[in-house]
Amino acid sequence: MDAFEVARIRARAWHEEAAAGDDPGAWELVERVARARGYELVPLAAGDALLDSAEAMLDRQLEAIFYRAAESTAERAALIAHELGHLALHEHQPAICRDDDVDASTPDEPSPAGASRVEAYGVRERQELQANVFARELLLPRPLARALFLDRGLTASAIAGRRQLPLDVVRQQLCDALLIPAGDDGGDGETAGGGGDLDPSQEAAARHRGGALLLEAGPGTGKTRALVGRVVHLVESGADPASILALTFSNKAAAEITERVAEVLPAAAPLIWTGTFHAFGLELLRQHHQRLELEADVPVVDRSDAIELLEELLPTLGLIHHQNLYEPAIELREILAAISRAKDELVGEEAYAALARAMLDAAGDDAERVAAERALEVAAVYRVYQHALRAKRAVDFGDLIMLPVQLLESEPGVRRAVRLRHRHVLVDEYQDVNRASARLLQAVAGDGSRLWVVGDARQSIYRFRGASAANLARFGDDFPGATARALARNYRSTAAIVAACSRFARTMRVSRRCLDLDLEAARGDVGPPPDLRVAADPEGEAAAIAARVRQLEAAGVPLYRQAVLCRSNATLNALAEACEARGIPVLHLGSLFERDEVRDMLSLLTLFADAWGSGLVRVAALPAYAVPLADVRAVLAKARQGESTVLELLARPQEIEGVSPAGAAGLARLGRDLRGLDRAATPWQILATYLFEGSSYLAGILRSDAVADRMRAVALYQFLSFARSVRPVGSGFPATRLLDRVRRLVLLGEERDLRQIPAPARHLEALPLMTIHASKGLEFDAVHLPSLMSRGLPSTFQRPRDPPPAGMITRPVDGEEGDPLRADHDEEEECLFFVALSRARTHLHLYRPERVGKTRRKPSIFLPRLGDELLVVERPPALPRSAPPPPPPAVRVAPAGPIELSGWELEQYDRCPRRFLYGRVLELAGTRRDSAYYRTQRALYAVLDQLASLPAGRAIEGAWLRRRLAEAWPEHGPVDHAFEAEYRRLAEDVLDNLAATHAGLKAADSRPLRLDLDAGRVLLDPGLIAAGAGGDVVLRVLKTGRKGSYKADDLSLGLVQEAADARWGAGGYRLEVVHLLDRGLTPVAMSGRMRAGRLDKSRRHLRAIARGRFPAQPDPFRCPRCPYFFVCPALPAGDL
């Protein structure tokens, strides 16, 4: 049971004792609680010297709580409740609490995304969080909160009013009480590493003397137990607890160590510095901020902040290879990843530039030259980025390690001071250190004579962060005279599973650099041997997993004690769907921002973010409002006129022309549910008001016991925590900023941390599905491991687009020749397989499909390495799907003449019919940010659109294009932007490229090309129809991007060719595609068969449009870039 749950239980007991059956207000309650413990409550005026800047003080000697006499009784009660929390929970610590300590409305844990990941997680901060949780539970226990909201139908405001509580406290408590399952989180599911005393190998490690120790801890051997044993040994041997520094790689691990030490040494535990490397780095920066010209409270920017910082500076950098007019964040993601890797290796911006220049000097061919130029561009961005960080006196995650290393290595006084303070250094999960953290450790631990690290090279699965088992291998070089030991007993798995792991371990490349894995299975030979189940295809594989899961459940292994572990998120999502389709409830959130309930909330926020409120399409479709589609279109059309925002229109829907009475009533209900909120409201205020005040949104979810509904509640909890934690940076309304951030997180793939299931939800009766990465540190009675095939596990190596410049990574790979990146990948895949195998306690089932689609897939190369003992089950039992879900209803669009589309629109339909519906049919504005890049792009298109109307015989001249740009710019361009001139230059460069690629051509036939297909007409705009010097016809299709590996096989090109054949005859013209960023020219030479295919497809699309078929076509790359990402695939009922 974790400390937060202890806090809750104790708070509830105190509440029940004080409430004694009646229903006191908050103030009366805390007075009773204090009185029962003989404590006096003493109010002090603001500025009183006893408190000074503090809010409250718990004086144990006087048995009094001195507190600032806040304005409202509610706030005073919350303050006292917080101090009572310290009284109840932290007997060894004095409690003087400042403003930022006391906030009973803060969530238990910081949201796992963004900069809050490194925010202080020391003992003191945790104690303040625990006191806040205690306060909330004392004032309004969760069962009471739930009963008041659900059974008595009270809103958050009504509860706050009746019980004299701060509204935010009530809202946060409702969040906890309603959305996450109550009860103990049951620990993290890891074997405690043996009960009772330490085993001999743990004991020997804990008592190690004489130089640095590297403790190799195989899976399930009690690594944390040994580490805690070491701390206890040090303290019992007389070490000052404050001299002990315990470094981890996750807040979760730090919290676990803190709490386990506190169980044994309650007085010493708070004095031990336990936290992540990054938190420790931040601590050093704060302590020595003046030397580094930083503020004491140095802001930490995350990847999303960094994108925001850089996005608009990009045009000033003259990038060529990383220029992306459409989605600059994509390029920045790659560049920032490269910068982050550089910082992992302690390579600063100048050193990076020098390496890149050396690459260019040594480049022997075009590919090498391009790679070097790309590296130089990264170097340029790196320089600008560091400059921007310095200007803001901010740091990023990489700096949290790199700057302290530079400080400690360059300032002997500081280095000695840090070593004097932290005289005993312990490190958990040492295999996860990268070069920078290893150097930090060297700087802090000196010769390592008091260094004790534990890790398992075979579980090194964070290579993308620069972690490498090579650092573990280097331990002896970094700390000469170091000793290596290994833990000897596995407490987790059966002998058969331990044997399988050991057999595989012997074949792992990383094993050459560590001790042999020679584990005794403490549980003995008590379970079946692992097996491999072979299915025909992925669907059969899912059916086999489902069948085995149910068999094991029937045999007494509950669903939550089993797990499906996948290498990729794509497999995970597919298997989650497949299990649900077979009636197996799953514990899997998937991508948070793609979940229905979270998109409902995101759509709600768009009503506050932009005047056009495109999210109405989704919100109005909710059953509580049921606004017909035609009415929604009418509201949106009215909002587009610009006089009122959608939010304003909700207050007076009856005034909108064409809205039906039923629609007006639904819109009015929505307006009422959002009453009191305006666009200045924070996302948390909007969402908490909507969920806990006006709407009935939660009712359906909360009254259901179905696991899927519980997961919906958990997803809402995660999203609300996230919305609360987002800091108010950037410009625009608070909701706009949040939506921008969500979009960036999704684009950057940084929303993965939000997929974590909160600990209390892990015990729902459902099957956990997770990636192997996420399973690290967990264990399950049964593990199901799918996709053991080629390109499954191990996965295919993909070289990063901006790999480290040559010479940046200097790590020994056992003297092997070859590509260190590929070697790292191959090692990591082995480690992932090893981690997956070793999660299993009793049942280990491996699966593989024989083919995927039409392609046969070979068995994974890892399988033979498990030895001949692996049982193979051909065609295992399978559980069929229940009936497939019904297809989505069609939307009938009242015909206004025959369908007439542009080729571009037809391509939109081809890529995603739903997007076509939103954009073309409903004319939704979309929710994409109107960045300077988009505005530049719009100005460019305004010029390109005029090309078709150039009079015949007119040359395509740069001067003419620039004049058109000058006309378009004031309306479309990023006028008044700080870098307007740079954007303008960028646009002019593109137009210069256009002029250059059309030199010698003259505008010709300006009649539009069109093609009549059975269900409609397609208007084809090739961009430009020109005539060459010899009068030959040249059709040019213009694109603003880069040529890259473009193949000229677009759907509309087939139609253009067909139409051009009809006008000029086959061979009577030339059709070419021009990419304007790099002047790339691609002739179109589509085969007859391919063209026929394009025509066929176009006909099918036109017929589908006529029948109202607009299904969503999810795509992991395109969806996050779609302007309708937040609303898709919702649609109100009805026709247009």
Binding site: A64, R98, L420
Partner: protein
């Protein structure tokens, strides 16, 4: 912190300076094993000493000017711990139970906030009425000088807890006895009596 404890800290720091040419972990550990009750102060001192050593030497002092370094480190440590010489007086309130202290407050016509402020030295010593000092000494059964010395020491830092760097302990604000009386919850009559005696 008792007199005895303070003076033993002074002795511990002197031992440290005598034992080490410059601060090192082994000497620090040895000193802590001799003076375990001063582990925190000895560590802070060693850290300050090391930091001072790392600073560039000023024009008028050589880099190896140990005395200067130690003096600077001591100065910084004193700024945190209390009065010059590191010998703050005993806490006359220590080891008294809540019941005793409350009874004392009642007897002396103080409320809890006034008593707490006297104990935590949040009141300017010179502003405390002599009569109250005498009464406190009598009630706590300590010499008059002990109360005077306690009150004259700088205000205690906010907490004995080991704050993280972002929340470095700092000297707290003081107020006069009259201000403290005005802010108290004493009844008007008692309050007037005290104010008249200030």
């Amino acid at each position: 912190m008792s007199d005895e404890r303070r003076s033993s800290l002074h002795a511990a720091l002197e031992d440290f300076v005598a034992a080490a040419g410059s601060p090192d972990a082994a000497t620090l550990e040895r000193m802590i094993s001799h003076h375990p009750q001063h582990a925190a102060e000895l560590t802070d001192f060693a850290v300050e000493w090391a930091l001072q050593e790392g600073l560039p030497a000023s024009a008028d002092a050589g880099p190896a000017d140990d005395e200067r370094l130690i003096a600077a480190a001591l100065e910084r440590l004193r700024a945190r711990l209390g009065p010059a010489g590191g010998r703050p007086p005993a806490d006359p309130f220590a080891r008294r139970s809540a019941t005793e202290l409350r009874a004392l407050a009642h007897r002396l016509d103080l409320d809890l906030s006034l008593l707490a402020k006297l104990r935590h030295r949040r009141i300017v010593a010179d502003s405390v009425p002599r009569g109250l000092i005498r009464a406190l000494a009598a009630a706590l059964e300590v010499p008059l000088a002990a109360i005077e010395a306690h009150l004259a020491a700088p205000p205690a830092i906010a907490s004995d807890a080991r704050f993280k760097a972002a929340q470095k302990p700092r000297a707290e604000r003081q107020e006069t006895f009259a201000e403290a009386v005005r802010r108290s919850r004493l009844d008007p009559g008692t309050r007037e009596r005290w104010l008249a005696s200030c």
